[in-house]
């Protein structure tokens, strides 16, 4: 685990006396990459919905009209793909399945109650977060490839009209999946208080780590002991 991603700081935090333990979760690079992803996703969802359902066509005014929306949407898609590749390469190893993931998923009732004590101790990511990660991993390339097939301005001649019909339907279905998974992702971050700080400031409180990712916290504490100069402030 890279030092910059997971620093354990004990003692008064920089901005307030409480909490006493803070745990670094995301580096500046990760956070910037995440927010590029987030922004491009939101723009893609808005412009995509505008082209998908007449009720949302009015959203095209946000992009300067239908013509610009049609042109911009795939361009933003390329930005999202690149940001996702960066995210995937750096985070896939933290999202590999473990035995405890199945027990966590079986305890879905406890998860929804927010009763973390009734669940197995969770490492850096819980099974739900991993599922979101792998769902995005399937959906982003799926959306990119089907998007290429219907990116008529540059790639019209690459495919036949029957192929484009398959792609345009698959693109819509993948996008519905993407937005649905994103709703779960965004809601979980809001519901579990203290989570969003990990993506804005880069750290979480010790209590947050203890409550939701206890195994991860234990590993950090154990790992710090073996390092030559633990960052204890």
């Amino acid at each position: 685990m890279s030092g910059s991603e997971a620093d354990l700081r004990i003692g008064p935090a920089t901005d307030d006396a409480h909490p006493r333990v803070t745990v670094g979760r995301y580096s500046v690079f990760t956070r910037v990459n995440h927010w590029i992803l987030a922004l491009s996703f939101v723009l893609l969802a808005l412009s995509g919905l505008a082209l998908f359902h007449p009720s949302f066509f009015g959203l095209t005014v946000l992009f300067g009209g239908g013509q610009t929306t049609r042109w911009l949407h795939p361009m933003i898609g390329v930005v999202l793909l690149l940001a996702w590749i960066v995210m995937f390469v750096r985070y896939a190893r933290f999202n590999l399945p473990e035995n405890t993931d199945f027990a966590w998923l079986k305890g879905v009732r406890a998860v929804l109650r927010g009763d973390d004590d009734a669940l197995p101790e969770v490492g850096r990511y819980n099974a739900g977060q991993k599922l979101v990660f792998w769902a995005f991993t399937l959906l982003v390339p799926g959306l990119f490839l089907t998007g290429l097939v219907i990116w008529d301005e540059y790639f019209y001649d690459w495919t036949s009209i029957p192929q484009k019909r398959v792609a345009v339907l698959a693109h819509a279905l993948f996008a519905i999946g993407m937005i649905t998974v994103w709703i779960v992702h965004a809601y979980a971050a809001i519901w579990v208080r203290g989570t969003i700080r990990a993506m804005t400031r880069g750290y979480v409180t010790g209590g947050w780590a203890f409550r939701h990712h206890r195994k991860w916290l234990r590993e950090l504490v154990a790992g710090r002991r073996s390092r030559p100069s633990p960052r204890v402030g």
Partner: protein, 314 residues
């Protein structure tokens, strides 16, 4: 039939307009107050001599630029090689040896928009009002509202609309809606020297076609018939074919065209189910937050974290 009538020289108000729309892309509209008799263009391929006067008339009337590359010959009579944003109608030539008679038959078909009663282009179009269908049967594109997405290309069962990479808008035959509005037939029909293309009311065209088919049958074309495919609800451009049992002989005219089921799902079920899935997921989140409340870190958690880290630090 209107084609032999000369145009009026005084200003004529249009005979139909926005109040006569029966369908408007990505919108729901009230039914029009009046129902004129639908119009139809009838193309009798058995009378066509392949002169391309219709193509020229189409370019001329619709003020289209011939932007095709010069100097390319791939050994067929088609010129240009396909419909383009500036070629709304195209003579397609097929050399076919009839296995029954061993005769070489030169099948010539004037390709272009069929003005379907159930238009796939309109169904697929995401831009409100960019494609409209009038009560007289004409399916027309409003280029001002077109966003150039190419969905109409995917919706069309006949492979007709073309997107210009210059203007980024879709183009196809309008059935000369501007001419029809002032009581004139389409330019192609007007120019046709053999009257293989005729235009008029639906019932007149059906009568005319029946006469032509009887004539063709009496000359030995016992499979002669009318091409008015029911899969798209019928079309307002119909063909008289001498081999009506095999439309595909005529440069791949679809035997039984229909809007692709993929397009139907995309523009039907997927639209409603998709909104439902996304909406229900968001609603579940909202309800869950109301019922379960925020998942907060407690003071106890902070103390436990402190204890855990202090134990190890010691």
């Amino acid at each position: 039939m209107t084609i032999s009538v000369n145009p009026p020289v005084t200003a004529t108000p249009p005979g139909f307009g926005a109040q006569d729309m029966v369908r408007r892309s990505a919108s729901s509209i009230p039914p029009p107050a009046r129902q004129p008799e639908p119009v139809t263009k009838l193309i009798d391929v058995s009378k066509c001599i392949g002169c391309k006067a219709c193509q020229v008339a189409c370019l001329e009337w619709n003020d289209l630029q011939h932007d095709e590359e010069i100097g390319v010959n791939v050994g067929v009579y088609e010129n240009p090689h396909d419909l383009t944003p500036n070629t709304w109608t195209l003579m397609r030539f097929t050399e076919w040896v009839n296995p029954d008679t061993d005769n070489l038959e030169w099948l010539i078909r004037k390709d272009g928009c069929m003005h379907c009663a159930d238009p796939g282009c309109l169904k697929a179009c995401p831009s409100p009002g960019a494609i409209v269908q009038y009560s007289n049967g004409i399916v027309d594109f409003d280029h001002e509202k077109c966003i150039g997405c190419g969905y109409c290309v995917k919706g069309c069962p006949f492979n007709i609309p073309r997107i210009s990479n210059v203007t980024h808008r879709a183009y196809k035959c309008s059935l000369c809606s501007d001419r029809v509005a002032v009581g004139q037939g389409p330019a192609c029909a007007k120019a046709c020297p053999t009257k293989a293309i005729v235009f008029g009311t639906r019932s007149d065209m059906e009568k005319h076609a029946a006469g032509r088919i009887t004539d063709l049958k009496s000359r030995g074309f016992d499979k002669a018939g009318l091409y008015n495919p029911p899969g798209v609800g019928g079309t307002h451009v119909m063909y008289v074919l001498h081999h009506a049992d095999r439309p595909h002989l005529y440069a791949g005219l679809p035997d039984n065209p229909r809007i692709s089921p993929l397009v139907e799902i995309w523009k039907g079920m997927a639209k409603y189910a998709g909104l439902a899935v996304m909406g229900l997921t968001a609603a579940f989140g909202f309800l869950h937050h109301v019922v379960a409340g925020a998942n907060r870190v407690t003071e106890h958690d902070e103390e436990e974290a402190e204890r855990l880290t202090e134990d190890r630090a010691a």
